[in-house]
Symmetry: C2
Subunit: 392 residues, 2 copies
Amino acid sequence: MQETFLAPKGFSFSGVTAGMKQSGKKDLGLVYLERPGVMGGVYTKNRYPAPSITYCRGLTPNALLHAVVVNSGIANAATGEEGAKRNMHFAQEVAQHLGVPQTSVLANSTGVIGHHLPLEKISAAMASLKAGLGKDPMAFAEAIMTTDLKAKLSQRTVDIGGQKYQVLGITKGSGMIMPNMATMLGYVFTDAPIPASEIQRITKEAADQSFNLISVDSDTSTSDSFMVISSNPGPGIELEKTERAIHEVAKDLARAIAADGEGAHHLLEVNVERAVSETMAHSVVKAVLNSPLVKTAIHGKDPNWGRILAAVGNGLQPFEGTDNLPVTIKLQGVPVFEGARPLEFDAKALSGKMAEFKVVIEIDLKSGQVGLTGWGCDLSREYIQINADYRT
Amino acid sequence: MQETFLAPKGFSFSGVTAGMKQSGKKDLGLVYLERPGVMGGVYTKNRYPAPSITYCRGLTPNALLHAVVVNSGIANAATGEEGAKRNMHFAQEVAQHLGVPQTSVLANSTGVIGHHLPLEKISAAMASLKAGLGKDPMAFAEAIMTTDLKAKLSQRTVDIGGQKYQVLGITKGSGMIMPNMATMLGYVFTDAPIPASEIQRITKEAADQSFNLISVDSDTSTSDSFMVISSNPGPGIELEKTERAIHEVAKDLARAIAADGEGAHHLLEVNVERAVSETMAHSVVKAVLNSPLVKTAIHGKDPNWGRILAAVGNGLQPFEGTDNLPVTIKLQGVPVFEGARPLEFDAKALSGKMAEFKVVIEIDLKSGQVGLTGWGCDLSREYIQINADYRT
């Protein structure tokens, strides 16, 4: 990922402190399109979606989008009818300040569950939020963070007929991360032309290949959202180039969330090869990423492949005819299990290789043609500390 | 659970040190029936079952059972054909020493994955194992332990027509615990009459109401086994009394595993009431027990009900029509969420109540008639320590 990020044409960004975070850090972010854009979105499958999810879902896909506003610190989730009302007021207030229809404004919230949005604080910050709109996306990226250690952005440039377009991604998320058809909060903004009729499909496919393949802690949040927004609702010329860039950016962001997982010392990459179906590959990737015993072994730089094999055996449970599949398992490139037998390897040397930040597990199922890669992280004492000592 | 345990008639027990555990503790256990008994068994659904699982499954149910032999320290899992051969030799050796057919001997293994059974050590210990057979089940209970802190036994007496019968349960398990149709290693021994035709059904039902409702760390092992053995293959007089005692003993053992979970400071009990189906109740119980964010909140004595609600929302994902169900959540008896709204409560006082060893979460789904209770534990720094610093 690069160090400086360019706003795609038609977008401006802002982020301010409204006072919802006790730390005093930025907690209110805005993305504005003067001329309406097209957006697609996918959202959490948690059965207790936050009011912001229900609201955004109702306006998705959208061919007349003017703004996305996000607050962090308070998720406004599990807050009943009052929560839905406040979410609507949040969007209305922004619409009024920008002079656009309320249905062109998406309002997202992330943070603690069970607290109401402080509308008066949001109102008070509205003027400075609007005044701050500019070409630098960093203030917005910072304003949506919660327990994240880093702002997470990614960018690609697409060349279509000699014309250069920007694809810019921004995300947040560090805990309660196992997105299900979406992610914590993820956005891709582009000025590349995308037809309104294609944007929802593109959004769904990008989420499935990126955010839906990561897990920090196997907990799916009540606020997961992923949106793709183009300021250029044009005909789909060389659309596959734009799609490829969107996929790359979404994968960068997903990896960045896993690497910034709460308490993580390692980024864990799991490659499953030659599965019979995408469902099977997905199930095995997730079983390995979610196994606390694999995660603690990675943390301890312990080449304990038995735990990986046990996790593979659990991921394969739903699939008939997979008993004792003669899989190959590699850890940091070193084969440790092949056929149905452990292999000899230098455990001390391999433990040394596991000191690297990125630890790669390769699993060859030798059954079909489908491969998938997912990302997670190790499980550390700091994860416990962050989440046990964090008081509501 | 009581302090001293009686062998049911017809059973004798032994446990010795064969040298498979580095600690020098007991690691070879034997249960012997002079006259053949009946047994039912259920086993792990992990797709990489240990050779002992494949072997025992092939002999289940069994109407001519003479012995169960168990080694701890080495699971003999993921050891290929050589592993299957050694498991067979293990059973053969015991059969020979006891003078019974090999098909009447079940051989179980538990411990580290990927290491071969040291048959010479087992052979060398065989004479003392046989010589040690007696009426005290404790030596056997100790011999099957791995990372368990305590031996785990439970007992009930059944009165059938004025005659007293014993139902004795013994289990082990502390990590890699989310049994799927079975448990790590669990045994119920009884002299109450059970017909051979009923024992498999009784075993399955007891497992479903006990071991299949616990989770320490959401990892299903390659060696889970649960067996019910009666030394009295008789007609099923007042069989429901015996079944009730078996269920009670199995639940005691399951709870004991959860309470002895690796690094656990708290036993977590999750009661789901008024679900539409057992599948739904099971899914919600497991989602709450497996949520690292709920587990760390329990560890931190934090009444963070938002995490519980998010976990309920994930457990309900497979079930249509469950969006925003107006559930009630109670924590240590205190209502914290009702309808779709947070309730006012004294967070400090409730945190104080969460200092107790047993923490109870009650979830009323208000949808149907089915209730289920499951058990788990909190997630602590010690869990990380045990599993990150444990070297293969």
